[in-house]
């Protein structure tokens, strides 16, 4: 009972003490003196840590006859100090920070004029520093704290959009951007300083990716190229760490990798044949391109299947608002492009066609030649053309659901030969002779995709596609003599064809999930059925119109490839970001089931607004490879899967990057890498003496490779003159048990030093000058050093080599580096009211670079005594090529 009485008294005293009236009028007084007065009037003591009141020495407080609680509430209002009254003590503590509530902000980023989704646009809250980027559908989602948000939307070539908003609940906002600089001759807004976003700068400073590049159509258009034909691969060839291979061709050798180690994707569908005209032009029509992503060091878990790089080309969706298009005519090709709404704001289309017109020149030239030649009955046939067609249809069911269909057709066609017809009425006979060769090669791709926002934080991309790659060589040789009754007096004909093709059917589901503002998770699955026919030959031999022999050989391999992946882009703290994931691939062809587990991780540490450091590790696996016996891309090259005893090709790559932003105008970057390659595939040294019927996996051997190097670049992003200077240092080698005697040798494109300088000068609203200079160490080639006399007997068959009686002695592979390669390309763009003139000079100072060296041994011989001269001949390719094109916009 006594305890209860005592407890009640204490509570009463406490209540009374809180109710004790306190009066203080303090103006700019030291807080300790205010505490002393409160202690005096209330009879209580303050208990607190000495550093709690740092920076709060002087206060103002005016209370008259108020309770202790009210006085303390007023005293600590708006501060992070809380108080508790325990008996005779007032305990002061720092308030616990409670996380503000977060809400989802999502929507689409679109172009204002056309309503087309913008892929890879950055959406940043400048207050919370939380950011997001748009996916392939132009959709972004982010979780930001309640209250005021300062949203900034950036996209290259477009004026940056800024918008202040209050976030009090989950919010959907679509942002529309206007072009700051236009490549289509419209809406040109040129001022002294054009403030536009540079996504590559943002990628360098904000993302955790090392060696990632984003290109828009305007970037490609402003790169001078051969024949003035804008080309995405030629633009990428100017990047550090990328070698072009043989001059003028659209080869791509990334960080010491091989030509078949690049994954080219057109709207999420892999392409096998990416060249026209042996690689002089790429298969991607710039007029149809919206956006290109290129990865060379770190690879998101979403991508796989090649060791060295990923090039993802997104084609235009088409305007939802109005029809417009263009027509371009150049020296080598013409292109037509049109896009617009089918149903306004709902359904759009985009159609582009490009065709070379060399054959339009050759047709009259051949007609003249055939008419003036003496042998009137003989007709010479020759021609070449390439065509590509892109069609895309996009339909928005709702803000949450979009359906798109894509069709691509790309083909090269080459023919040559002659035919003759002689009608002899006097002897009643008709003679026909024909010898014609035709080559066709290219891709056909069709795909359908559905983008669906399952919830504000979960997005789905479904893709189904079929692709067909085909290379077909036909030879027809006929000689016949018919009498007037149509019967053969004599006939001999031969039809021969070689085909190699691949048919793929693929399906994939890619999810983007943002469970919180710190995590952006991507996961998905995919399945591809491959039908490889590396060789399909068919021959028919006729005699007197009767089928004499028929030969057929067909090699077919079916394969199933599947994969799954998951990756998280995680903002650990404001300055540190981690992107980690894993991809698992399974491949089944002839032979055992092959599995690859490919972990990926990259981390970004933003030291301050100017400095960013990055590190990454990527493992990539590859299940298919291209067999080529030449150093240029040919339609006869075959893609084949790993089979038999061959294992998947694997690469492990570590990269380190440092990025520095100077005055928001210059971006400096330095990226170092080391890449190990295992199970890489090449022909054995002795493959060419194996019988023709030998299975290809027996002709091949697997080995290892290494590549290491540093890429440095400085980019000027603003002002009338923009551009980039880059330097690459590279070492790359290979080792195979069955090549080069098992000894390590440099890879063919071990271009030790490479310098690229690109500049773009916007003189005024109408004129723009572009220049690109490339200088690099030459390619490595195998150059014989000794020659020897060939076996000489009267019975030996005749070979063309007997002209010089000497053949090359085998030597170490890639033992010689070609001379330093350098070239300057310049172009000028002149905009008119409705169009754009492009004048360009490829190889402006006409330095014909050496592309290969061959031995031409024209030895003076007499009784086995040979007087040698300088017998090496350098083949130099491509002089200065001027070109002009005009694009009419409507």
């Amino acid at each position: 009972m006594k305890r209860q009485i005592l407890f009640s008294v204490l509570i009463l005293i406490s209540i009374l003490s809180l109710r004790a009236e306190i009066s203080i009028n303090a103006r700019n007084r030291d807080i300790h003196s205010v505490f002393a007065e409160i202690m005096h009037q209330s009879g209580k003591n303050f208990v607190y840590s000495s550093d709690l009141l740092k920076g709060r020495k002087i206060i103002n407080l005016n209370v008259q006859k108020e309770s202790l609680k009210n006085v303390l509430d007023k005293l600590f209002a708006g501060t992070d100090v809380s108080y508790y009254i325990r008996g005779n003590n007032i305990l002061l503590k720092k308030k616990k920070q409670s996380s503000p509530q977060r809400f989802i902000l999502n929507g689409y980023v679109k172009e204002r004029e056309t309503g087309e989704a913008l892929i890879g646009a950055f959406v940043i809250d400048t207050i919370s520093h939380i950011s997001s980027s748009t996916n392939a559908a132009g959709f972004y989602t982010m979780q930001i704290p309640t209250g005021k948000a300062g949203i900034k939307v950036l996209y290259p070539g477009y004026a940056t959009l800024r918008k202040n908003i209050d976030i009090t609940r989950n919010t959907t906002i679509d942002f529309t951007l206007s072009p700051g600089i236009s490549g289509d001759g419209k809406s040109i807004e040129l001022s002294e300083v054009v403030i536009t976003a540079d996504r590559n700068h943002t990628l360098a400073m904000e993302s955790s990716d090392v060696g990632r590049l984003n290109l828009t159509r305007n970037d490609i258009l402003s790169t001078p190229t051969v024949f003035g034909e804008p080309d995405v691969i030629k633009t990428i060839q100017l990047q550090p760490g990328v070698s072009a291979g043989v001059e003028g061709l659209a080869g791509m050798y990334v960080h010491g990798g091989n030509h078949d180690e690049n994954l080219y994707m057109l709207d999420n569908v892999p392409l096998y044949q990416v060249n026209h005209f042996g690689g002089l032009f790429s298969a991607f029509n710039t007029e149809a391109i919206k956006n290109v992503d290129f990865y060379k060091s770190t690879f998101p878990a979403k991508y796989g299947g090649r060791l060295s790089s990923i090039l993802e080309v997104h084609t235009k969706d088409g305007s939802l608002k109005q029809h417009h298009g263009s027509f371009r005519l150049g020296l080598t090709s013409g292109a037509f492009n049109i896009d617009g709404p089918i149903f306004k704001d709902k359904t759009s289309y985009s159609f582009a066609i490009r065709r070379s017109w060399f054959d339009l020149l050759t047709i009259p030239a051949l007609a003249i030649y055939n008419s003036v030649r003496e042998d009137k009955e003989m007709t010479l046939i020759a021609g070449y053309a390439f065509t590509d067609i892109n069609l895309k249809i996009n339909h928005n069911f709702s803000e949450r659901s979009t359906l798109h269909g894509m069709f691509y057709f790309g083909e090269d066609y080459l023919k040559g030969g002659e035919k003759e017809k002689i009608v002899s009425s006097d002897i009643d006979e008709i003679m026909n002779e024909k010898n014609i060769n035709k080559l066709r090669w290219g891709n056909i791709v069709g795909s359908i995709g559905w983008n669906y926002m399952i919830s504000p934080t979960l997005f789905l991309e479904l893709t189904g596609a079929a692709s067909y790659y085909n290379s077909n060589i036909n030879q027809e040789s006929t000689e016949s003599i018919l009498n007037t009754s149509g019967k053969y007096n004599y006939s001999n004909s031969r039809i021969f064809s070689i085909r190699n093709n691949i048919t793929d059917y693929l399906g994939r589901a890619d999810f983007g999930w943002n469970p919180s503002s710190e995590h952006r998770i991507q996961f998905g699955v995919g399945l591809t059925y491959h039908n490889f026919i590396p060789q399909d030959t068919h021959g028919e031999l006729y005699d007197m119109g009767t089928l004499l022999t028929i030969t057929n050989y067909r090699h077919k391999i079916q394969a199933l490839e599947s994969y799954t992946y998951i990756g998280d882009d995680w903002d650990i703290i404001n300055t540190v970001k981690l992107n980690a994931g894993v991809r698992a691939g399974i491949f089944s062809a002839n032979g055992p089931l092959r599995l690859t587990i490919e972990p990926r991780a990259s981390v970004r540490w933003k030291l301050n607004p100017q400095w960013t450091l990055k590190a990454s590790y990527s493992r990539m696996g590859q299940f298919v490879h291209q067999l080529t016996e030449s150093s240029i891309s040919l339609p006869t090259d075959k893609w084949v899967p790993i089979s038999g005893t061959l294992k998947p090709q694997i690469s492990d790559k570590i990269s380190l990057g440092g990025y520095f932003d100077l005055l928001s105008e210059y971006t400096f970057s330095i990226e170092a890498f080391y890449k190990w390659m295992r199970n890489i595939v090449d022909y054995r040294d002795d493959y060419f003496i194996m019988p023709e019927s030998t299975p290809w996996d027996i002709l091949l051997c697997q080995g290892s490779g290494r590549a290491k190097g540093i890429d440095f670049s400085v980019i000027k992003r603003m002002g009338k003159i923009t551009g980039q200077i880059s330097y690459s240092l590279l070492w790359s080698d290979r080792q195979f048990n069955h090549k080069n005697g098992g000894m390590r040798f440099p890879s063919a494109y071990d271009n030790r030093h490479k310098i690229n300088i690109t500049a773009n000068w916007k003189i005024n609203n109408r004129w723009e000058l572009n220049a690109a200079w490339t200088g690099m160490s030459g390619n490595m080639i195998t150059l014989p050093t000794q020659a020897y006399e060939i076996l000489n007997t009267q019975d030996i068959p005749y070979f063309s080599v007997y002209w010089d009686k000497f053949i090359d002695l085998g030597t170490k592979l890639n033992n010689f580096r070609l001379p330093f390669y350098h070239r300057l390309d310049v172009s000028a763009n002149h905009r008119t009211k409705h169009g754009l003139w492009n004048f360009s000079l490829y190889n402006a100072y006409c330095n014909m670079n050496v592309i290969t060296i061959k031995r031409e041994i024209s030895i003076d011989s007499s009784d086995h005594t040979y007087t040698g001269k300088n017998q090496y001949k350098a083949l130099r390719l491509i002089p200065l090529i001027p070109s002009v094109s005009y694009t009419w916009y409507f």
Binding site: T636, L783, I790, L813, N870, Q871, K873, L875
Partner: protein, 317 residues
């Protein structure tokens, strides 16, 4: 296909040029042994050295002072002597069918090289048949005095030749002829691309892979136009060589490097580097062997009878 090749090469030539080039590359010469051993014929060896490409000095490549030996069936080596006239090392050793021949050359400056071969068994042409047909030659027009056009005649000879593969071991063949032969086994080493690149060969390399132990019939043909060389004596012939495996691989690699599709790429310097097969340890080139059987058909009288052409006074063939 030749027109197509010309088209492609012309495009390259249009925008390319070749210039002399002097790379700073040096290497040491190696011993080169060339031997073609045949059944029951004395063995001769050409022993030379390789030369440095691009060297401007005079090069006498014959290694007269080398010590060259021949050994049969792992027996004692016999010294071969240099013959100044033929510029070859010669011996009186004549191998039999199935003999193993080892040739060794030692030179004080260029070291030792050695190669071996086994003399193959010749395969006879067991049987042959001939047919011929007379046709108009549309490439040969002859107007008469009235301006009327007449076509000259052409004779097409066609042969069926039968031989039997021994079937006991791996056999390799070389068919050499002045006729054009078309047969699936003759094309076993011609890739589809070679087929397209050039389809006119006058020799054919093949193995017994498809015909081991079987009797096989080949088809060959030859056309004679009216305006042939009237002073020549015409014989259609075929030599069917049985060749050693090393010689087969040697010829095969020569064909791959210098002929067909790869030959075309090699011509413009863009082919993969091929190394010509060699069975010489410590040096290069080939110790090869062959045996042969021959078929010859005298068609001179048939041609002259059909074309009504008198026989030459001095037949030279």
């Amino acid at each position: 296909m030749k027109n197509l090749n010309i088209f492609i090469v012309s495009l390259l030539i249009l925008c390319s040029c070749t210039t002399d080039f002097e790379p700073d590359l040096h290497s040491d010469p190696v011993v080169v042994i060339n031997v073609m051993a045949s059944f029951n014929e004395p063995i001769k060896a050409s022993v030379t050295r390789s030369i440095e490409i691009g060297s401007s000095s005079e090069n006498n490549i014959i290694l007269r002072d080398a010590i060259v030996t021949v050994a049969l069936n792992d027996g004692a080596p016999q010294r071969m002597l240099f013959n100044e006239e033929s510029e070859k090392f010669e011996s009186d050793v004549s191998p039999n069918m199935g003999d193993k021949v080892v040739i060794s050359a030692v030179h004080s400056k260029y070291g030792k090289a050695e190669g071996s071969t086994v003399i193959p068994i010749p395969v006879q042409i067991d049987h042959w048949e001939r047919e011929y047909r007379v046709m108009h030659d549309y490439n040969a027009i002859m107007p008469d005095q009235n301006g009327n056009i007449h076509y000259q005649k052409i004779i097409n000879f066609e042969y069926k030749l039968t031989f039997t593969d021994p079937g006991d071991t791996e056999n390799y063949y070389l068919l050499s002829s002045n006729m054009n032969c078309t047969d699936p086994i003759l094309e076993e080493n011609t890739s589809a691309l070679d087929e397209i690149a050039d389809n006119t060969n006058w020799f054919y390399l093949f193995s017994d892979k498809q015909i081991s132990g079987k009797t096989y019939t080949l088809t060959c043909s030859r056309k004679f136009p009216t305006n042939f060389y009237q002073d020549h004596y015409y014989v259609n012939n075929i030599k069917l060589y049985s060749i050693s495996k090393e010689y087969y691989l040697y010829l095969f690699s020569l064909f791959k490097k210098y002929e067909g599709f790869n030959g075309m790429m090699n011509e413009i310097g863009l082919a993969s580097p091929f190394i010509i097969y060699s069975n010489i340890n410590g040096g290069t080139e080939i110790v090869a062997s062959q045996s042969w059987s021959e078929f010859a058909d005298d068609v001179d009288s048939i041609i002259r009878e059909i074309f009504n052409i008198p026989k030459p006074i001095y037949p030279d063939n």
